[in-house]
Symmetry: C2
Subunit: 331 residues, 2 copies
Amino acid sequence: MVKKRPTVTDVAKLARVGASTVSRHLRGVSVSPDVAIRVSEAIAQLGYYPDETARALRVGRTHTIGAIIPQVSNMFYSRAVQLIEEEAGKRGCAVILLTHQESIKQQAVQLATIRRYRADGLILAPAAGSNFEEISAALPGTPIIAIDRYISPAMDSVVLRNREAAHVATEHLLRHGYKRIACVVSRPEIASFKQRWEGYVDVMTERKLETSLIQAPDHEQLRYALTSTFVSSHRPDALLSFSNRATQTTLLAFDELALPRAERLPLLGFDDFDLASLVDPPLSVVRQPTENMMRHATDLLFRRIEGTEPVEPKIIALPGQLVYRRSCGCS
Amino acid sequence: MVKKRPTVTDVAKLARVGASTVSRHLRGVSVSPDVAIRVSEAIAQLGYYPDETARALRVGRTHTIGAIIPQVSNMFYSRAVQLIEEEAGKRGCAVILLTHQESIKQQAVQLATIRRYRADGLILAPAAGSNFEEISAALPGTPIIAIDRYISPAMDSVVLRNREAAHVATEHLLRHGYKRIACVVSRPEIASFKQRWEGYVDVMTERKLETSLIQAPDHEQLRYALTSTFVSSHRPDALLSFSNRATQTTLLAFDELALPRAERLPLLGFDDFDLASLVDPPLSVVRQPTENMMRHATDLLFRRIEGTEPVEPKIIALPGQLVYRRSCGCS
DNA sequence: CTGTTAGCGCTTTCAA
DNA sequence: TTGAAAGCGCTAACAG
């Protein structure tokens, strides 16, 4: 026979007080000193822990937030999740982690999951093709903060200033003297990638230079597209890749062709990652202020949950930082 | 006025049946066909979703599992979490993700969190210095599966055959003709690292070779220790690093000294990661069968939760796979 | 400051 | 097969 987990009533009995007194003590409401001691002792003696599920049912708050991202194995998102977990923990909340694998259908499933579990709020990196109305309809009354990908002016978002960042990245490449810069990206329909593309197009057309895009629906095919491009007669003279995953695929493509270092195209990538400085040549990147972004996102989310925030949707756009290493042509 | 979320009672009223009938329908217990239709319609019309917190309170199962790991930003763990999330999702469970940052104190906090939220089970990569009794006492009645780090024969665990893997890794290095092999690790007190060390020591002493350990409490200091070793008169002629993080630190140390390629020590590391093949030279590693491990771990966990598993603690130890690239001296 | 009571949304006897 | 009623553990309202 397993000992049942103790409840408030058990604690109350042992401390010879009412259940509500225990509850009050637990939540820091004033109780007389001697009672406080008796209750604390009873709690310790029984090894009592309040039951969040019961509390949630009663109070209407689960002290839980959801996080839905494409996948955790992407460095950018794993750092993001780490930060979210820490911030949530500081506020006494746990995070329910869900992934949508870039599938809008899977995302719908996960939104429903969040709904069933009644998370108090959600941090969401929306899947490509997400629609604001559908998302918010799936979670009526639950605050949602979009991260990394902007999908609607009506939705709270914290994102990179993608267009601007692509601007400066492209200009930097241009300054090195490259003219036939090509962008590489796996899924161009993703909002932030679209904006990066626009930023790039802005400066290329302004200089009357031809734009060029190397893309593919997945990374396998992207690698193939890259290798074909490299050996084509009209190959670009520099590359701007839109995600760390795309950057890695590009590197893989270089590798596959066993291109000598001199033949490798200069490369500038979005998103920094641990080993960027260790590949050969060290990778220049546009770094996102991930920590800052996540702090903004969680701050905003918790203010929404508490209702201490003007109702207008808030879009927080943070600048990227160009990290010069060598792959872009810098020395 | 916000529309309140619909409850079983609302559905019941609309379908003109009792609440328990709705509940039965929801859980797939037999109901008469016409009633089934009416209920389904009512559910659709109201946009009803069952409330997991209420169900949890009543049924005693939260359909939630906990995952406590050191940090998500380590490639090995982020992949692990990804897999856990998928497996849990298949079984209708959500995962609460918590990190302990290698702090035994933080781990205690997180165990308490899991207890408050009443997770049905826990997958845990125990912090260095964890004690089986403390952990299981913190979560009476909750099944726990240790992953990656073995801490007690009494605890269900799925781990790498660390000692054996270190054996073959060391032997491989020896076969290349290296004699003064040194191990590099940040926190040697972590169980799996201890076992790797033992495996290494086994074969070194058997060959009457001197053992050597480069270690430090954190990666900053480890890098320092490495650079000093590299310039010392008695430098090793090959390195065996015990984690991907340690491997990266080693690479960083090479980089910092701007060692020419010829001067870089041959290196073999535990844990594969995305860019291992892209650094220079491509990294040889001992790869863990992460996917398999996590499938074993979740399978076992859910069998424990359902009680369909003999009570004896189960230790599942999986072999590692040596991935030969070039950093170890292979060509 | 304290205890009693009711009820959050669900499932599970128990009768019908 | 179905409905009524009880109760999971907690807290909020109310009365003392």
